[in-house]
Symmetry: D2
Subunit: 382 residues, 4 copies
Amino acid sequence: MGKIRMGMIGGGEGAFIGAVHRMAAYLDGQFELVCGAFNSDPLRSKKSGKDLHLPDQRVYSDWQTMLEVEAQLPEDTRMQCVSIVTPNHLHFAPAKASIVKGFSVICDKPLCLTMEEAEELQSLVHKYDCVFALTHNYTGYPMVKQAKAMISNGDLGKIKKVVIAYPQGWLSSRIESTGQKQASWRTDPKKSGIAGSIGDIGTHAENISEYITGLKIDSLCADISTLVDGRLLDDDGNMLLRFNNGAKGLMYVSQISAGEENNLQISIYGEKGGLSWKQMSPNSLKVQWLDKPTQIFRSGGPGLYPIASKACRLPAGHPEGYIEAFANIYSEVANAIRKKKQSGKVVLSDYDFPTINDGVRGMRFIYKAIESGNSHDKWVKF
Amino acid sequence: MGKIRMGMIGGGEGAFIGAVHRMAAYLDGQFELVCGAFNSDPLRSKKSGKDLHLPDQRVYSDWQTMLEVEAQLPEDTRMQCVSIVTPNHLHFAPAKASIVKGFSVICDKPLCLTMEEAEELQSLVHKYDCVFALTHNYTGYPMVKQAKAMISNGDLGKIKKVVIAYPQGWLSSRIESTGQKQASWRTDPKKSGIAGSIGDIGTHAENISEYITGLKIDSLCADISTLVDGRLLDDDGNMLLRFNNGAKGLMYVSQISAGEENNLQISIYGEKGGLSWKQMSPNSLKVQWLDKPTQIFRSGGPGLYPIASKACRLPAGHPEGYIEAFANIYSEVANAIRKKKQSGKVVLSDYDFPTINDGVRGMRFIYKAIESGNSHDKWVKF
Amino acid sequence: MGKIRMGMIGGGEGAFIGAVHRMAAYLDGQFELVCGAFNSDPLRSKKSGKDLHLPDQRVYSDWQTMLEVEAQLPEDTRMQCVSIVTPNHLHFAPAKASIVKGFSVICDKPLCLTMEEAEELQSLVHKYDCVFALTHNYTGYPMVKQAKAMISNGDLGKIKKVVIAYPQGWLSSRIESTGQKQASWRTDPKKSGIAGSIGDIGTHAENISEYITGLKIDSLCADISTLVDGRLLDDDGNMLLRFNNGAKGLMYVSQISAGEENNLQISIYGEKGGLSWKQMSPNSLKVQWLDKPTQIFRSGGPGLYPIASKACRLPAGHPEGYIEAFANIYSEVANAIRKKKQSGKVVLSDYDFPTINDGVRGMRFIYKAIESGNSHDKWVKF
Amino acid sequence: MGKIRMGMIGGGEGAFIGAVHRMAAYLDGQFELVCGAFNSDPLRSKKSGKDLHLPDQRVYSDWQTMLEVEAQLPEDTRMQCVSIVTPNHLHFAPAKASIVKGFSVICDKPLCLTMEEAEELQSLVHKYDCVFALTHNYTGYPMVKQAKAMISNGDLGKIKKVVIAYPQGWLSSRIESTGQKQASWRTDPKKSGIAGSIGDIGTHAENISEYITGLKIDSLCADISTLVDGRLLDDDGNMLLRFNNGAKGLMYVSQISAGEENNLQISIYGEKGGLSWKQMSPNSLKVQWLDKPTQIFRSGGPGLYPIASKACRLPAGHPEGYIEAFANIYSEVANAIRKKKQSGKVVLSDYDFPTINDGVRGMRFIYKAIESGNSHDKWVKF
């Protein structure tokens, strides 16, 4: 039935995450980029489209035009899904319009700027039966899926402790004042929302911890800081967590941990053993047991649950990385889009990618973490 | 000027390396798969083409037909390059025909079956001024390029010792007797040539050691073994090496090192320090110094030479893997193909990908290693 | 002037930490064990003394007798220092008596059971000018000292973030109910005090974080849990920390993190870079920089500050472990004891071992952590 | 029965290995240093004895005097064993005299200078029923013993491949010309014998490979080099190995691998899996399986064979290092000495320490490696 025709909003020259989305979409040969509105500056949008080998007429000067025009194209030509890779403040409007026009949507995280926006998108997605994915890409790693499967199968027994760390160091100085593009919008409340690091990476941490454990954060106690002078949003957050099964936990996210790259890691302990996964060595999952030798599960290696092994493209020892994990999200979305096209409907819970509900939960996490950071009360209910 | 139109020979359903070549070609959005002859069985070729979203008329029943028909298509439609991903014995004929017809060629390694074939291809490439690449993909890793640059810049001083290890374990038992496809042809002299492990992975080891050091193997002393009963080709090889600058070294390759995945690693020592790189943790390069603390260079991190940093797609801490390294070969080939198209000619030494000359040298390595393995003399001149 | 004559209180057959103290005392040949009261059961004490090759007459049935008798022995025969390696509730009385009788004291941690005891010991130590050491042994590691020196020299710039983790898993089930000796007293409030894991390992975490950073914990917010049913003391604690220079931090300690061994680790971030040390790989110190490649400092290797290099016994690559670090405490104590003997007095701040002041601070930490755990207020002032 | 009274020959101020032997002897409280001839300069010997807290009259000006005088002392006073920690050329004479006088002997490696000396010592040891140990200390590590036990129990199936690497970098430049003591004698044929690196570290590599595998090297093919100009002995050696069960292997040892510390490592592959051990991370043993997840065995952890677990002093996660492994040799020797004293005789094969036979085999290894290095024939029979 051909590749899925994708349009992109944002992601022009110099963008980081737009390029990642394209590579993730291209990797498995399931998507074809057919159009885009890559930049709010029409000339730069055109330039990007040309670099991406798009025909000139399908490079639009703004996303509104793109949605209008594409919706009028013949069904076998027009884009089928749109990838929204703009800064946070530019998620809501194009997402809403895309849903309403019947396009499938792949949206970068966090979902949007406010809880109100989030809830409106959630009801629209349900109303329009939209295939809507939010790219919490770290859950795309095979070893994350293995961890999830081991826990849901009870291999570790009841979960008692969860530790999630996500230190980065790239905002250790006030680089937003130098015009650095990635830093500028992420530290600007108008573009990023009420949170900085909590929204940018804290939502990933929240999402992956709930994805793997199958638990929900029940309450939290946060110390949210801006540790670089003059910065307008938080760049560091430390939290105590309590989960809905009684498990205790901690989370810390930081963008001022100088020298750290992108060191997301999670350790989860149950009655029988504990597991640890580190994003920067993503193809190994260490499982330590109470009474037997430690095991290392490996991408492509023996002993994996199906959800993990089917997320591997290569035999063990051929490292798969960030883009491959990201592409696992895209591929599952492709499956859902094809299913919906074939059968007119699709049950999203049959697919393994983050949905609008993850997006709403992430927005709630941002709100609750910031609320707790400002509170003298110890615990804030999630 | 649009994506580069690529055809593929081999790589149908169930193939390992064909899928890798496609992902590598797709990743950066530089290539478009437009046609293929994926399997010697026309029906299975058709099936594969359909799975790959190709129009039926450009899925061919054999590569001869593909080359004939494509060569007749309008210039803006016909394939521009061909990717040859068949077993070794099916490299020579399609490569030769493709060169002669003026297509650019990306060929899997080792180059072919015999030195005669290799030399014939070499002269054809030169005669037809063909953009010809051999996918010694491990040299595509950014940290391999950093190692090369550090050595060529003299950071380590004169090189004195080189150790290359390439253990795998997947052929620890005689799985070729079970019909396992990858094992079957690799252990069959008619399809693989005079060598098994020496050709399959030894050529990678030879290539990467010469690529990084800038040295040439001058002579070698090999113990070549078949350690699984009933196997027809070598599955293990140990060698002493002497390099053309006087450096000493060792290489071992093995496919019966049970439990090993794909553990290519290399350590190189100069007068001032030594570096170590491990393919299974490809984004780090460890450099140990005689008189100062060890350094870890990282993909996307600070302190890289340009040849390394331009091979990175992502900021440090976002792991890039095997496919990304493979895609670095493809992208450099794309640059060369575009340059040739634009200016009518191209100087391959301006580009950073393995060429026909690497292929010929790899074939010589196979011959010399096997010769040494059969010899009572200690040293065989390379 | 001969080895320093040491007596031991506790540490009989089956004890863990007593054997460690002896190995630490023996290692560098500075101490000679001359007497002991190893067990409250006189017969078992005798048995232990015999196993330790002590003459029968200097193996005492109780510590009171030992202190009495030894104090009467000729100066060149009687013990000079006493090592107290009993459970927590048996630290105070023998420590007090030893100080008063003029013996030097090496006491296991935590200092005692209550703040009152701690403060009384503190004034006695000062009054009697006692060489008193508390074995927060983890600060004895060379790379911990290197970390401390780097920070005090400003290599990392102002410190902004501190993360200390100390997970163990050995109390994941209620092994105290099986009579396991180490577990039994540590989970018994009468023997351990008001805290379990917080006292047993939390005090180490507190001590090492303040030792390395040179900062003081200013306030904390703790979630203290007993996650194994029926246990009488905490076995898990998570805390937010604020340091006296404005740095933020977290600490977690756990004895129910199933599968974890003794995984104390600390990461500290300043303006220019961050460092990480892991007790289970103690001979490496990883320093990540904002703008240059990561460095690995190594025990016995190049680039160390004197405080670190003099704590190494062996050339780099010859691993030194837990006992060696412990012995570094003992060796510094030996230096102080000799100095005091030679010159009649000693300035403890000239020596690098934990003192009574560290012990008092540890007791305060226990109190404040438990207080915070029981409080609805977010922050407790340290 | 008291500690075992030990004398030491060599090991005065500035010596490396003498201090190690003392720490190893002290650690477990089994040995008491009672006398020594620490230096060929009597004044420096006295000084060392004083530093070691020995009574002046038992610090001898030469080893001959020491052996004479000690042999005349009352049985409950005189030394029982002698530790010989001199350079290689000073092993034979004191060892011979000690054996003849009935002392137990602990001798550093390699055994001596020549095969003739080695064989003479071997017959003396047997004739005098001497408890004689050679400190191939690396076999003292618990995880080395675990590896040995796993192989002898058939856990890996038949062994097929063995790789031993022992790179160091400390002789990367000609530091012997600066008077560096350790380098000077090791590179001096008169003191070191016919080999440099091959004797100094190659014998360790040979010993550990045969200890773990239970196999014997059957033949070898060596490339022996002196890679630093002006040096008088080899500083680098690469070898192909064939073992007596048909297994293939490689060994390389180097002291010019700049930046390497003391990186002894060994990987052994059988039909069912492979194991890897690295001396610089000695408390882990990685076992990779053909068809199940990798396991990490840990010192003090679950799943160990008795030979390994009894070699651990501490619970898992409390690192044990080089001295502890060395002390395991000493402790086994202590057991043998006590047994012999108690029962008049001892069967050395009941004990787990390297003997005179290991010493003779090490000398043969040196001879054969050097012979092969000088030969044009490919294989030299061991």
